[in-house]
């Protein structure tokens, strides 16, 4: 979703993914965000509340690949429902990370 000034006030839930901030037409800052909420208020201010956010340079593709493989294994290997759900969430996050890094 793209947000410009004077967007309609909205409350959106965010899945783990990349947030791009265009400070002006040349500088773009990207962060990988762990998930949270974005709210646009009637006074045109945008608040993004996320538990964790890191700039994309801080991630290493190798670590992401190994992490993804482990999470996929844990998701399919069974265990309690909670463990499986946790592992599925991990898989989602890692897949989003990989997609973000490869772009």
């Amino acid at each position: 979703m793209g947000i410009l000034a004077n967007h309609v006030p909205t409350i959106e839930q965010l899945k783990p993914g990349v947030v791009e901030v265009l400070e002006n037409s040349t500088t773009v800052k990207k962060w990988f965000v762990s998930g949270g909420f974005a709210t646009i208020n009637p006074d045109s201010s945008l608040n993004i509340n996320a538990v964790e956010a890191f700039s994309l340079e801080d991630f290493s593709a190798e670590a992401v690949k190994t992490g993804l493989a482990e999470a996929q294994r844990a998701a399919s290997s069974g265990g309690t429902e909670e463990d499986q759900a946790l592992a599925k969430v991990e898989v989602e996050v890692y897949e989003a990370l990989q997609a973000a890094l490869s772009k």
Partner: protein, 293 residues
């Protein structure tokens, strides 16, 4: 002559035995004072090191608090612009955010007093207590009102994981509320803090807020939003309360060290006076004895 001599000796004997008793008593007092001096100086070493530890923790806690404040304000901006207000007869719960640790000044009693005043005379209000010390304070007056209590809080800077675990347990325990007042100590400066409350609302209260229609949102988002904002506010209260507690601990330990230092000075003076008295008495004995010969 003979009589004078015999008369003289017994007098000397009693004088010596009396001064011996005085000496023994003074020695005992001297020993006591020495013991006290040693224990007070040990205490002052302990409080001084506690003060050092607390001041390093304050710096870290303050940084975390700045972040948490920005986070919490962003979180609550939605409710501000939606002008959410609880209904006048709403079901409120109070969450008293404090910690388990003592020796930090009046932190726990401030939170407990604020909570007590805010509850007023309302009979059905439930309280969730975070921290053993706050629980002890509140159980004195509102034992029946305490629905849940958490401990192991305040050991380190609170994390969002802790806050979300707390919210999780509150939800699963079935405590229902329309709005929650989270009472915590707001950090004003390195030497002052005050108790305030931040609000968290239920889905229905948010849906009924005057400006709610201005926002576009999908339906299933609302429950997640409520849980997320609740956890955010609990996190903010915990982090800021932690910073206030570290600052209060630092100033409490500083006062304790200062007081211990004063006690040491006074005790040292008394000790020296006692020591000099003993020496003077011994001198008197010697001189009296010498002059009697």
């Amino acid at each position: 002559m003979f009589a004078v001599r015999t008369l003289a000796r017994p007098a000397v004997a009693t004088a010596t035995s009396l001064s011996n008793a005085v000496q023994v008593r003074n020695m005992a007092t001297l020993k006591e004072i020495q013991l006290r001096l040693k224990s007070v100086s040990n205490i002052s070493k302990i409080t001084k090191s506690m003060k050092m530890i607390a001041s390093t923790k304050v710096a870290k806690a303050q940084r975390a608090m700045e972040n948490a404040r920005a986070y919490g304000n962003a979180n609550n901006a939605v409710f501000l612009s939606a002008e959410t207000k609880p209904a006048s007869d709403s079901n409120s719960i109070f969450i008293a955010a404090s910690s388990d640790r003592g020796l930090c000044g009046g932190i726990h009693s401030t939170v407990a007093k604020y909570t007590r005043n805010a509850i007023g005379g309302r009979p059905d209000v439930q309280v969730v207590v975070l921290g053993d010390k706050a629980k002890a304070q509140l159980s004195r007056t509102h034992r029946a009102a305490i629905a849940l209590s958490f401990n192991q809080i305040g050991k380190d800077i609170p994390t969002f994981a802790e806050a979300s675990a707390i919210v999780d347990i509150i939800k699963s325990s079935g405590v229902e509320f329309d709005n929650a007042h989270i009472v915590y100590n707001k950090f004003l400066s390195a030497i002052s803090y005050e108790a305030t409350a931040v609000e968290a609302y239920s889905e229905d209260t948010f849906k009924n807020s005057p400006n709610f229609a201005a926002f576009e949102l999908e339906d299933d988002v609302l429950e997640n939003l409520q849980e997320f904002t609740f956890a955010n506010n609990v996190y903010w209260a915990l982090v800021e309360g932690h910073a206030a507690e570290m600052a209060a601990k630092r100033s409490a330990m500083e006062n304790a060290t200062k007081n211990a230092g004063e006690m040491i000075n006074k005790l040292t003076l008394t000790y020296n006076r006692g020591r000099q008295a003993v020496i003077t008495n011994e001198l008197i004995d010697i001189i009296t004895g010498a002059s009697a010969l």
